[in-house]
């Protein structure tokens, strides 16, 4: 059952990724990116990693994409990059990317299929309660560090923009 969902959502994710690349207007690209991320979250859910799915939607789509949308609104002026969507290197880039993707697909395809060490049935270890208990037991310190990192990130962004203004 979940195999169909995975196939469906991964196809959807690929489509949305392609849409991000091909959309002329940045806003449309942003929205297709959001859709892409939701599909990924769905994939995580199918895999049983609910925590990650929630993080994905919560942090990434919620915070990052919203911030991206704001920036698009602020900066979006119809300049050269609007008429000429793709750079001159489009064709060779597509060919090379195709080559790389095909090579990856073939290589990964050849990876030896080893039976998972423990039965997939016990996949519920990643539900909220079990994961968050395990996570907080071992990684409480790293969690705090992450917050410090976020703080520095904000200050840096603010300083950068401030410094630029009177430049």
């Amino acid at each position: 059952m979940s195999g169909i969902f995975i196939a469906f959502f991964s196809a959807l994710a690929v489509v949305f990724a392609i849409m991000v690349i091909t959309m002329r207007q940045p806003m449309r690209a942003a929205l297709s990116l959001v859709a892409h991320m939701v599909c990924l979250a769905a994939l995580y859910a199918c895999l049983g990693a609910h925590v990650v799915a929630v993080f994905q939607v919560l942090i990434y789509v919620g915070a990052v994409m919203v911030f991206m949308v704001y920036t698009i609104m602020l900066l979006d002026d119809r300049d050269m990059s609007y008429q000429w969507v793709f750079s001159r290197l489009a064709l060779p880039a597509v060919v090379v990317a195709g080559l790389v993707a095909a090579a990856l697909w073939v290589l990964i395809g050849r990876l030896p299929v080893t039976a998972p060490a423990i039965a997939t049935a016990a996949g519920d270890s990643f539900t909220f309660s079990s994961f968050s208990v395990a996570f907080m037991q071992h990684y409480w310190f790293h969690f705090e560090l992450a917050t410090v990192l976020l703080l520095i990130g904000i200050i840096a962004a603010w300083a950068a923009v401030k410094e630029g203004s009177n430049g």
Partner: protein, 626 residues
């Protein structure tokens, strides 16, 4: 008897003194040194000569080994035998007289010391040439003499004409010397020695092959032609008249040009076994004699007339050598040196009197103004024309007789010689009449200045004229003296005796009618001469331009080499080599470096693409191999 070394050394000392400090010495001291040392050398030569006549054994003297390696041993050695005695006497004797003459002639020239230094240098090299015991000593003298003639012809170097003449003389001589050097190498390959006695001895005993002998002969002839101005390489002699007249007298009449004859007689051992080479020498000589005489007739410059006459007389000497009569050749060389030197010095006196005028058309009626010069000039020209009592008659007749009677002689070659003798008489009479007789078309201001030659010049003229009168009579004793070295089977015989007298009469007859024809044409009817010249037209132009040898050499050889050097080598090959060796690699490297720098376009996305390309390549390599 080690004073043999002194003979060439004295002129060398003269050269060094005059050369180094000559300009600071007073003029009289310079001329004393310059004339004294050759005179001393002349005295020493006479001493050696008398010793040689009494003992009859050649004097040899080895100074030091010049070069010694396993496969070659050459030492600096002098050798004084009959042949080199004659040459030495001529060189030092006539040389000293000419030095005395030029003391007067060059008295008002500003680089007086330099002139005498070069003259002494010439004597030194000529004596090394004559006294050398092996081919290398002879070759050293040979090229040294070429250098001295180059320096002396181009003595007045302000005038580009004269330096060109000097350069031409040296290069043409050098062409001849190449032939000589090759002959020397070829000889050494067989005889393993460069010594004359060794060579003649070896070839007397064994002859490698006729082809080898003839090639050696021809190469030696080629070398001799270069130096003695024979047909193929004679172009430099008329131009060599650009030098001062005593130089022409010494170098281009008496000594240097006869070096070729000396070489042939020295190498008689080789030639006697090279029949083809002998014929070539004989006929070449006859041809040069004839051609020289014809060219002599058409010249107006008095020195050029004498130059062509020298060429033709040496043609006679070559003819004698070619016929095996080396001693007759040497005899003619000896008499020719005397009267030709006298002629040149006479011409010098005339030019001196007319303050540098050389063109006969601007002379005439001088015999009253400079009688002494006229007298000596007349004596010498009679000797040259072969009029009986004079020396020229004996030596030329000897050669003509050999032309008839020698084994490879023939009436044809005698006829050519005979006609050339007639033409010699004709052009000499023409020269005398145009300069001394007829109405004087000398410009007025020059006319006033005509004066007889000063004592030093006049005395030398008189001595030489006397010698050219007396010189002939020692004929038979002369050839006897030379016989040990150059002896050859003389075709004695009663019938021959009679024949000899007939030929002698014939040659006197041709000389007489040459003179009469000259007087008739030039004394009487000058207009007739013009008419004949117009009638003969193209032939006259051909002959007066020296059969276009000079033009041919210059246009074909010199211009072609210059063209090759200038346009082909300088422009084509040099640029291609520069291109291939320098521009191509540097250009290539520049191009490659530009290619790589074009990748750095500054477009960040391009860089990412390159990364992607690299990734793709690696992955696919992984796919291919894993």
């Amino acid at each position: 008897m080690n004073h043999l070394m002194l003979i060439p050394l004295l002129p060398l000392v003269g050269f060094l003194i005059n050369g180094l400090i000559g300009s600071r010495l007073p003029r009289w001291l310079v001329s004393v040194i310059a004339c004294g040392l050759p005179a001393a050398a002349f005295a020493l030569t006479i001493g050696a000569f008398t010793l040689l006549r009494t003992t009859g054994t050649p004097i040899a003297e080895t100074l030091f080994t010049w070069v010694g390696a396993a496969d070659i041993k050459v030492d600096v050695a002098l050798y004084f035998d009959q042949v080199s005695a004659v040459m030495c006497l001529v060189v030092t004797g006539v040389g000293t007289l000419i030095h005395i003459y030029s003391a007067g002639y060059m008295s008002h020239d500003k680089s007086f010391a330099r002139y005498f230094a070069y003259l002494n240098l010439f004597l030194f090299f000529m004596l090394t040439l004559v006294l050398g015991k092996n081919l290398i000593m002879l070759f050293a003298g040979w090229e040294g003499v070429g250098l001295a003639s180059y320096l002396l012809i181009g003595f007045w170097f302000e005038d580009r004409e004269k330096t060109n003449a000097g350069l031409k003389a040296f290069v043409v001589n050098r062409v001849g010397d190449t032939g000589f050097v090759l002959a020397a190498f070829l000889i050494f390959y067989f005889t393993k020695t460069l010594d004359f006695q060794g060579i003649n001895g070896y070839f007397a005993a064994t002859q490698p092959s006729l082809l080898i002998m003839n090639t050696i002969g021809i190469l030696l002839l080629f070398g001799a032609c270069g130096k003695s101005a024979q047909i193929p390489l004679h172009v430099w002699l008329p131009d060599a008249m650009a030098g001062p007249t005593p130089v022409s007298a010494l170098i281009h009449a008496a000594t240097m040009v006869t070096a070729g004859v000396y070489l042939l007689s020295r190498m008689s051992g080789v030639f006697l076994h090279a029949p083809l080479a002998m014929d070539v020498v004989a006929w070449g000589g006859a041809l040069t004699a004839f051609v020289g005489a014809t060219m002599g007739i058409t010249q107006y410059n008095i020195k050029k007339v004498l130059a062509y006459s020298t060429m033709s007389q040496i043609g006679y000497m070559f003819m004698a050598c070619g016929l095996g009569a080396f001693d007759a050749g040497m005899f003619h060389l000896y008499t020719h040196a005397l009267f030709k030197a006298c002629l040149f010095l006479g011409a010098g006196a005339i030019i001196h009197a007319l303050h540098g005028e050389e063109d006969m058309r601007k002379m005439g009626g001088l015999w009253r103004k400079i009688p002494l010069t006229f007298g000596t000039f007349l004596f010498a020209s009679l000797a040259l024309s072969g009029v009986p009592p004079f020396a020229g008659f004996f030596s030329k007749d000897e050669i003509l007789w050999n032309a008839w009677s020698a084994p490879n002689g023939s009436p044809a070659i005698w006829a050519i010689g005979w006609i050339a003798a007639g033409m010699t008489a004709f052009y000499m009479t023409r020269a005398i009449i145009m300069t001394f007789f007829g109405e004087s078309n000398v410009p007025e201001k020059v006319e006033a200045g005509i004066h007889e030659a000063p004592f030093s010049m006049a005395s030398v003229l008189v001595i030489l004229a006397a010698l050219s009168l007396v010189g002939g009579f020692i004929g038979t004793r002369f050839t006897g003296f030379l016989s040990p070295v150059l002896g050859h089977p003389v075709a004695e015989g009663a019938a021959a005796g009679g024949m000899e007298h007939i030929l002698m009469g014939a040659s006197v007859a041709i000389a007489a009618c040459g003179i009469l024809l000259g007087c008739f044409l030039y004394l009487g009817k000058r207009t007739l001469v013009e008419k004949i010249r117009d009638a003969v037209g193209p032939i006259y132009r051909l002959v007066s331009n020296g059969y276009y040898f000079d033009a041919f050499y210059y246009k074909v050889v010199v211009r072609c080499v210059d063209w090759v050097s200038e346009s082909v080598l300088a422009k084509v090959t040099e640029t291609t080599f520069n291109f291939v060796a320098i521009e191509l690699p540097s250009g290539g490297i520049n191009m490659v470096s530009r290619l790589f720098s074009s990748l750095q376009t500054g477009n960040v996305q391009a860089y990412v693409l390159y990364v992607l390309l690299g990734l793709a390549l690696i992955l696919w390599w992984g796919v291919a191999h894993a």
